[in-house]
Symmetry: C2
Subunit: 369 residues, 2 copies
């Protein structure tokens, strides 16, 4: 087992990464202040890991709540079911919430913890690759709104994260690939050596080689933790973590939550961001191709859905949080391993990028997924 | 005009107190970062002050949202109407929300600001005495849940508070008295000199003497600001501000939101807390009587509703946030001007206090309000 420390002063916390960690009381009990524990999970993860997770909390009064599985349930209505459960069992301020599942469970449980009685503790037990490398680090919590993704939320750090690599054994191939999109992102924005490592080890990762996965998770978390420690509430550098996300959010929102996976949308978004960076004169064509190739190697989609016409696509990008006073800021690339937030692009260039992306898709006659 | 500064490091902010301040751009514009402003008000305050408030934001893109008036609307459903409005108008992270109204508007707008895109700025323009002396200081925001009051929320400090004493001219007598309950509270918990001043000046306050009101607001805010500056997230001392609130919440929740005003319930709660402090041997009977007399002088109710039988009353106190791991903590008094948080009372004493309170009410044959 490896343990990383996310350094946020009083809100610092450990991330434990390794095989067979779910169910180990030594990792979580030191972080539980009171007697009351609520484990929130979903209908997919619950049957697989809830029983094991319960053994990590001996001598606690543990309640469980099993939510429906899917991004379309990350909303205020389902959030209210967590509040109902907490209040129904008279949970107080010393209670601890535990998120057992992927990013959706982590985000919604984290926001419930952030807002229940103005803030209670929570522990993350991420069970997907995406949540292990992304949402478990950094304290972003929240729910979606019909008009925009992650529009309602809070920064609320967990007291502890337990990333058990054995939980990836049961992950669907599609979910594994979606997680790899965020792994690739760290290489792209700040770690070119890691990008090269991924080019060489993608097959091992897809075959779920436990050593390769543990290495990729740790290096991803380390990258993210460094960024978050310097900019907890996203005033500057942290925004780089949104590479591909503004394009990606347009795809996710436009196609309806739950249709495209977050990582799939981000994968295509990163290709579009690389393409646009080339049009800005920052990347050459070969580099864009390297990006697309690695994403393809990870068995991720590389093309946006043709249904989302350019006008609609741009409109959907507009409500994203990366808009500052009417100006759209995008994360673009100066090189593999070097990203920048920029609002200094000609608006027409964004339109051309999306138009050409669609045109190439049509020309290749690609079926999208 | 007087200006107080609430000292919270990076989150410090000014409170301006005086006559005719609504509509003065000089007080608010320096705190507005972007172009987008949403003023949230209600059907009572909007017709009176919205037009004037709008003149404080020249050259901004101002949207307005008028919510129904009442504590029963401080819930997730109405909160979602604020999100709808923000997203419908494509508000981004540099937007500023303005709460124009009483405590309900301040709490719900503040929580919308805390949670929209994980936090945007907000300005408080409290128009009731209660909100000017209480909810405008300290950053507590939130909404109610069917199973408990203020159970969902966040700590989120405003960037600026404008307390216009002329807005009290239009306040109903009952609302004015409700505000005085919280004013009296500051005397009780930490300012015995202020308590004496209130005994001497209660009539002037009830006659809405502007000088007396401005003095009472400033001294109340100063007391609260001192407490909050030392304990922003209520780990210790800040809990003293909850004097009367655990009893009071039982009354508010038990009678249904919107039936008793918050200040009315707190007034009775403070009498019950004083009574219980006497039973602990900390206060003499005359002191309890002084408390009850001042509350009566402020034209506040002094007796709990007889409908709330003792068992139900205690049950309703149990889900209050002041419960630590199953132990109920109450704010009690060692003297006028000296409060303490205590869980060290015999449980039977709480029951006796409520029983006797009801018995005395019945004996006096009081109609409750």
């Amino acid at each position: 087992m490896n343990t990383l420390h996310v350094d946020l002063g009083k809100r610092s916390y450990p991330i434990h990464i390794g095989a067979g960690l779910i169910g180990n009381p030594d990792l979580v009990i030191p972080h539980v202040r009171g007697k009351q524990v609520l484990i929130v999970t979903n209908t997919t993860v619950g049957p697989l890991y809830l029983e094991r997770a319960l053994t990590a909390f001996p001598d606690k009064r543990v309640e469980t709540l099993v939510l429906p599985d899917g991004e379309q349930y990350k909303n205020l209505e389902i959030l209210n079911r967590i509040y109902d459960c907490l209040l129904g069992h008279r949970f107080h301020r010393q209670a601890t919430l535990v998120a057992l599942g992927g990013g959706v469970i982590g985000d919604i449980t984290g926001f419930a913890a952030a807002s229940y009685q103005r803030g209670v503790d929570f522990i993350q037990i991420p069970t997907t690759l995406l949540s292990q490398v992304d949402s478990s680090v950094g304290g972003k919590t929240g729910v979606n709104h019909a008009l925009g993704k992650n529009m309602i939320g809070a920064f609320h750090q967990p007291v502890c994260v337990v990333a058990d690599t054995t939980s990836l054994d049961t992950l669907e191939d599609r979910e594994l690939s979606a997680g790899l999109a965020e792994v690739i992102k760290y290489g792209l924005i700040r770690d070119p050596e890691f990008f090269s490592w991924l080019q060489q080890n993608m097959d091992a990762l897809l075959e779920r080689d436990r050593g390769a996965l543990a290495y990729a998770i740790e290096r991803s978390c380390r990258n993210k933790a460094e960024v978050v420690a310097r900019d907890e509430t996203e005033q500057g550098e942290r925004a780089l973590l949104n590479l591909g996300h503004t394009f990606g959010h347009a795809i996710e929102t436009g196609m309806g939550y739950g249709s495209w996976l977050h990582g799939e949308a981000v994968a295509v978004g990163m290709i579009m961001a690389a393409d646009m960076s080339m049009r800005m004169g920052w990347l050459d064509h070969d580099t864009v191709q390297r990006v697309e190739n690695l994403i393809d190697q990870a068995r991720l989609p590389t093309r946006a859905p043709g249904e989302l016409a350019t006008d609609r696509f741009i409109e959907l990008m507009g409500v994203d949080k990366k808009v500052q006073d009417g100006r759209l800021n995008l994360v673009l690339l100066h090189a593999i391993g070097s990203a920048v937030v920029s609002g200094e692009f000609p608006p027409a260039l964004l339109r051309t990028t999306i138009d050409d992306h669609h045109a190439i898709t049509a020309k290749r006659g690609l079926s999208l997924r």
